[in-house]
Symmetry: C2
Subunit: 399 residues, 2 copies
């Protein structure tokens, strides 16, 4: 049998592909601080398991392809609390934000079509698009100005006859960028001018530190163009539940995706029941988590500033920073840290930067760090990173 | 924004698309006997919820993209009990058999490639393939000879330069066909001669009534060609858990699909924990379920034989029959039964047959019935079907 070109062309996830090295390091007795993956150490609200424990049906039966009605209603009410009206018929439950992205892409693009993104961007956009033979075309943004969008003419140059959608993450992963009203209006104009779709991945909506934030779902002029990708993985620290959602006010979009959703039957029932309960978590939980991430961001930036030659972005949201290191190759360095380095039996793991860029060559000396550990662990992890940089043979001499 | 051609081209699932009519009938106070969907009324073994109740981690964290190690080990041991050796690295956990199919298709076919099936076939194969721009080409099989495969020369004529895989369901859905050793060897020869993949969907493996059954996984000559699709949905009546698996001894296949699996992160953690426990269910459970379905099959056939003009297949496995009815159009009849008919406040729902065929025009007077209800309910449902046929304006006069 022959393996398809589409799957052969996928790049391995920079977030997960080094896992075998981490497993080997752990097997050899090393402690690994994981800054590579956005897996928070925050406790999932107890309501999740409590609701599942109350489930008492005798048959774990297929659910509705659209989603569990209680969860749909909970998400409707959540959006209402953000002053956004989405009817339950405009919400579809998905297997995590990942399946929401997959479905949005297949519903908006045929093979050879393009989705415009701003790099660096969430690495898995590329793999999901390629699996559907969609090309991700990227416009570069830069750490120097906080990954701000370029001007409108520059964005326009990224649009080709094959462009069907713009895909944005707001707040940004890995950039931490929170788009300004001017940037959102720029995007809105371009999307409407070219009759594109806007796929807005807002899974980090609750994680904004100080900046003012607005959802694309609160811009009524985008109603016919907007597809929102959402997930409770980060919001309620329930990444393993794999419950996401796809929202749109475009009626035709909702009708068309249901055909695919019915073909894949439904999402897991128990996790949906737990998810519905999570939306009843008191707002104080989210406020507490927000404050905790803000402390972590500040800790990470403070500790990174102590390492000579390391530049670090200033995220206003989500829980990642991109850093630039004085090294030959971040992936080699990451593997070396796992295979050949330890500081008192401990090492650190990060996601190499190049996987977050579509343009070959970019991001080679960069890394994404997820600040998902408590401040003490973060401090220690960055200390180890600094020691590693001193010892790594590929570190460049600083002037 | 513009909806893609690929999603516009999907047909709605014949199994689920009439759900709005059923919902309306129920809202109007009718009782609906569901023969449309393979949702058994059999109880899920208690081990599923028990294991989930024992889960006591504070964070519902991402799992391994490959699958939960305990579940992988449980599936390895299950295959061992069938005398099939699959290492855990040759098993990948998926979001139901549906995602296993999607991943197998994307890993084996590029846009424009073809998958050969034998019609009637599981309707959702078509939608999943089309979402990936893969063409399902079908060779007809017939109720008259129990949906036996045609001869080798006939099968060969279905192979084109774009054929990348043969996709079989064994035991068959909707046919109930259990392939003979001669048929399996025929398929094996064709697959190897043309260097194709064989995607064998064996989710009904435990549901064989009397016939002798062999898995394609027990044919070592197919090792490099075989991709097994599995699921515990039917095996343990846990359709809503959405836990499936993809198995292959082709090393390159396993390596390539992991890139996609990492991009979609992982399957739901709690449902995997419950699933692992299901595999510890005593064999007597499966024996009891098997005997129950056999009774249901016999009941269904006996009751259907009482209706003039209805022909019914003789399934040896799975839990479906295809029937032929003396009517103009099975979909019209199905809608009419839900909208305009009742027998003492009760009606019946089935899946119209044409959705199980790729060839236009085939299956129009056919239906798939799932015998997933207890014998009393089945008897009543078929009685209603018979009354409906008498009253339906589109029923043809019998000679």
């Amino acid at each position: 049998m022959i393996i398809s070109e589409r799957i052969s062309s996928l790049s391995a996830s920079p977030i997960r592909k080094l896992n075998p090295y981490a497993a080997a390091a752990k097997a050899a007795g090393k402690k690994v601080y994981h800054l590579n993956i956005g897996q928070p150490d925050i406790e999932t609200p107890a309501g999740f398991l409590d609701a599942i424990h109350r489930f008492d049906k005798k048959v774990i039966a297929y659910g509705d392809s659209h989603g569990n009605p209680r969860l749909l209603e909970a998400i409707r009410a959540y959006y209402q609390s953000w002053n956004m009206d989405y009817g339950t018929e405009q919400i579809t439950i998905t297997n995590g934000g990942s399946e929401a992205l997959l479905i949005a892409m297949m519903a908006l693009c045929d093979p050879g079509d393009e989705i415009l993104v701003f790099e660096p961007f969430y690495a898995n956009y590329n793999a999901l698009a390629r699996a559907l033979n969609i090309t991700v075309r990227a416009i570069a943004t830069h750490a120097e100005n906080g990954y701000a969008l370029p001007d409108e003419a520059h964005v326009e140059r990224g649009i080709t006859p094959r462009t069907k959608a713009i895909l944005l993450t707001n707040p940004g992963n890995p950039t931490g960028r929170v788009y300004t009203p001017a940037e959102m209006e720029l995007i809105s104009r371009v999307v409407r001018r070219h009759n594109l779709a806007l796929i807005a991945d807002e899974v980090y909506r609750e994680f904004v530190y100080g900046a003012s934030y607005r959802s694309f779902g609160a811009m009524p002029e985008l109603d016919e163009h907007l597809v929102l990708v959402d997930s409770l993985s980060k919001r309620y620290s329930a990444c393993g539940a794999r419950i996401g959602a796809l929202l749109s006010r475009n009626k035709e979009f909702c009708v068309q995706i249901m055909k695919y959703c019915q073909a894949r039957l439904c999402c897991p029932e128990l996790e949906q029941i737990g998810a519905a309960a999570l939306y009843a978590t008191p707002k104080s939980y989210l406020d507490g988590v927000n404050a905790e991430y803000r402390r972590r961001r500040d800790t990470l930036q403070r500790e990174l500033a102590k390492i000579p030659g390391v530049a670090c972005s200033s995220p206003q949201g989500a829980f990642y920073v991109m850093i630039k290191m004085p090294i030959d190759d971040a992936e080699k360095f990451a593997i070396w840290l796992l295979e050949h380095f330890d500081s008192h039996g401990e090492t650190v793991m990060f996601a190499p930067g190049s996987g977050f860029y579509a343009t070959p060559g970019l991001g080679r000396d960069e890394a994404r760090l997820a600040y998902v550990l408590n401040c003490a662990d973060l401090t220690r992890a960055i200390e180890i990173l600094g020691e590693g940089l001193k010892a790594y043979p590929g570190t460049k001499l600083l002037a």
